[in-house]
């Protein structure tokens, strides 16, 4: 008899857990659903009480206005392109530079190697927010104020990326490298033909982390970019939200446009997104 009781008790908690998980999932998803439905509604519908969850008509005008901008300049298209270019170049640079450094630190022995490693790792303790003002001055001195170089070059490497690649490459089989050496491959050739093709999983994780960081970045572009043409998506949205003529629907349309590439990337590379949050992030992240 008590066994039966225990069983009932356990199934009640089971049901409670299901309910809690589902209710919480709904609460987490509501703002996302709100963004997408509101982006298809005229402003008047969005601010009605209660909120009509299903758009009456597919009001595409919001998307047109988001792209067109309040001044009809279609600058958003350019800003989207900028975000892609900046994020892509930074990601490619990070992958290449972090892996070659990681390789140099993992597979070669020379004087001062450990010192270099420790110095690089110690920069993980410097938060970007603490060095942004002097970095801004450095950029100004270099004459990179208001250029793409300012957005890309200071982020071409991350200490965390070097750490990730070094940890991975330290277990890389030496036999493969030596075999290539015996075949007469140059050291640079070995890196490109043997090391890089065999390091896809950590490289993908690093790529996803870097791309997302750049896609998200607001503070630094806010400091260094002034020309509307050179802005990235977050800067455009901040500006768009401030403008008086922006209606709520168009704002949500812009937000949805900014989110869609990341959602597609997530669905394609879920494992690297979720795996990536497990490599404990540090440094500029």
């Amino acid at each position: 008899m008590p066994k039966q009781k225990k069983y009932i008790f356990s199934s009640i908690t089971d049901i409670l857990i299901w309910i809690l998980l589902i209710v919480f999932a709904i609460m987490v998803l509501v703002p996302l659903v709100f963004m997408f439905t509101a982006s298809f509604m005229p402003a008047n519908d969005i601010m009605t009480i209660p909120f009509p969850w299903i758009p009456k008509t597919f009001y595409i005008e919001n998307y047109k206005q988001a792209f067109r901008g309040n001044d009809g300049s279609y600058i958003f298209l350019r800003n989207i392109l900028n975000s892609f270019i900046v994020a892509a170049l930074t990601t490619i640079g990070t992958i290449f530079l972090c892996s070659i450094t990681g390789y140099g630190l993992a597979k070669f022995e020379y004087k001062g190697r450990n010192f270099i490693l420790i110095m690089i790792l110690s920069t993980m303790m410097i938060p970007f927010e603490a060095i942004m003002v002097p970095l801004y001055l450095t950029i100004t001195n270099l004459g990179w104020q208001d250029t793409y170089a300012a957005l890309i070059i200071p982020f071409l490497m991350s200490a965390f990326g070097v750490f990730l690649m070094r940890q991975f490459l330290i277990t890389f089989p030496d036999e493969l490298l030596d075999a290539a050496r015996i075949d007469g491959a140059s050291e640079i050739g070995i890196f490109f033909k043997v090391v890089l093709p065999n390091s896809i999983p950590p490289l993908a994780t690093l790529a996803v982390l870097t791309f997302r960081y750049q896609w998200d970045s607001l503070l630094w572009p806010l400091l260094v970019i002034q020309t509307p043409k050179k802005k990235t998506i977050p800067l455009y949205i901040v500006h768009f939200a401030e403008e008086k003529f922006t209606n709520e629907g168009a704002l949500m349309a812009a937000a949805a446009i900014a989110s869609i590439p990341m959602i597609i990337l997530f669905l394609m590379l879920t494992k690297y997104f979720i795996g990536g949050s497990n490599v404990y992030t540090g440094g500029k992240e």
Partner: protein
């Protein structure tokens, strides 16, 4: 006898990695040189973009320096730090940052732990829940803040929801104007954005606990609560500590939500977090010296937290 010596040498060589017998040949020297060449870009990069700025921040924090003026910066010793100690705006930022950090990271760690334990206990839909909770982390912080900005509108969903739950029809909770509620609003945005991120980390931590331990406990008659408090909780303690510090450092660096909210007309004072203050001091007030002093203070705090994080990750290996 000889074989013994050779075996001994090989053993020591394996243990220490030191070469006794072979001298470095030409090829190996060449190889070593390549290793160094591969790290040159990193040495240059981190010198320019990490070490130089932090040293520069440290030096600038002792000077009175204006962003736009061309005159030579004036050395004022600890003047900037003294100014900050007596500055109301600085202490307000410390308060705003502390309230935000404590108010965000504690609920974040507790809730993500609970959700992770619940999701891990499910046999089905684990992946679905992980993805659903994780989805806000995909949005950029600006987008997240924009969505919530509309939801916190007097006619928006936040009021509608509270009015429904608390049965207070038509009441406006003044999300973006009342100082305390505004603080809560920024906390909510952050909580929403990162809850799934940390849940996923906890789920991995829980998944690494061997099933056999749980099963053994269940056979011994332990109930779920006992399994949780006596087995799961102690074994994921390192993950919990790590997540706490990660969440804390992230909260200390928060910027986007507060920036967007104040730009859209919310009062600055309650949510003038330290990064926002640094930004405004440098860009709006042109006080580079003061901004640098604040940066150094932020650096020291985060450095202390990161040190703890490294210590914890070293002790991370749990013996099952």
């Amino acid at each position: 006898m000889l074989a013994c010596v050779v075996r001994g040498v090989i053993f020591i060589k394996k243990k220490t990695g030191i070469d006794f017998i072979k001298k470095k040949t030409g090829i190996e020297k060449k190889k070593a040189r390549w290793g160094f060449i591969f790290t040159i870009p990193a040495i240059i990069f981190f010198s320019i973009f990490s070490f130089y700025p932090i040293i520069n921040a440290f030096i600038t924090s002792f000077y009175k320096k204006d962003l736009l003026s061309l005159s030579k910066p004036q050395f004022i010793g600890l003047g900037n730090y003294k100014y900050l100690i007596h500055s109301e705006s600085f202490w307000n930022s410390v308060k705003a940052t502390t309230i935000f950090t404590v108010g965000t990271f504690i609920p974040l760690v507790i809730m993500s732990l609970i959700l992770a334990v619940f999701i891990s206990s499910r046999k089905r839909f684990q992946k679905f829940f992980q993805m659903a909770y994780y989805s806000p982390a995909l949005l950029s912080s600006v987008v997240a803040a924009t969505i919530w900005l509309l939801m916190f509108d007097p006619r928006g969903l936040a009021n509608q929801f509270l009015n429904f739950i608390l049965n207070t029809p038509g009441k406006d909770y003044k999300w973006l104007t009342n100082p305390s509620i505004l603080r809560l609003a920024t906390i909510l945005v952050y909580f929403w954005k990162y809850i799934g991120y940390f849940t996923v980390i906890f789920i991995t931590g829980i998944a690494s606990i061997p099933q056999t331990i749980n099963e053994a406990a269940r056979i011994d008659g332990a109930n779920r609560w006992q399994v949780f408090t006596r087995i799961t909780l102690p074994l994921i303690k390192p993950t919990t500590l790590l997540v706490s510090i990660m969440a804390m450092t992230r909260c200390l660096k928060t910027f986007s939500t507060q920036y967007l909210f104040t730009q859209s007309g919310a009062p600055l004072k309650p949510i003038d977090v330290i990064t926002l203050n640094i930004y405004n001091t440098a860009i709006r007030d042109h006080q580079i010296g003061r901004a640098s002093a604040m940066s150094i203070i932020l650096f020291v705090i985060i450095l202390a937290l990161t040190m703890i994080q490294f210590k914890v990750s070293k002790a991370e290996e749990v013996q099952y």
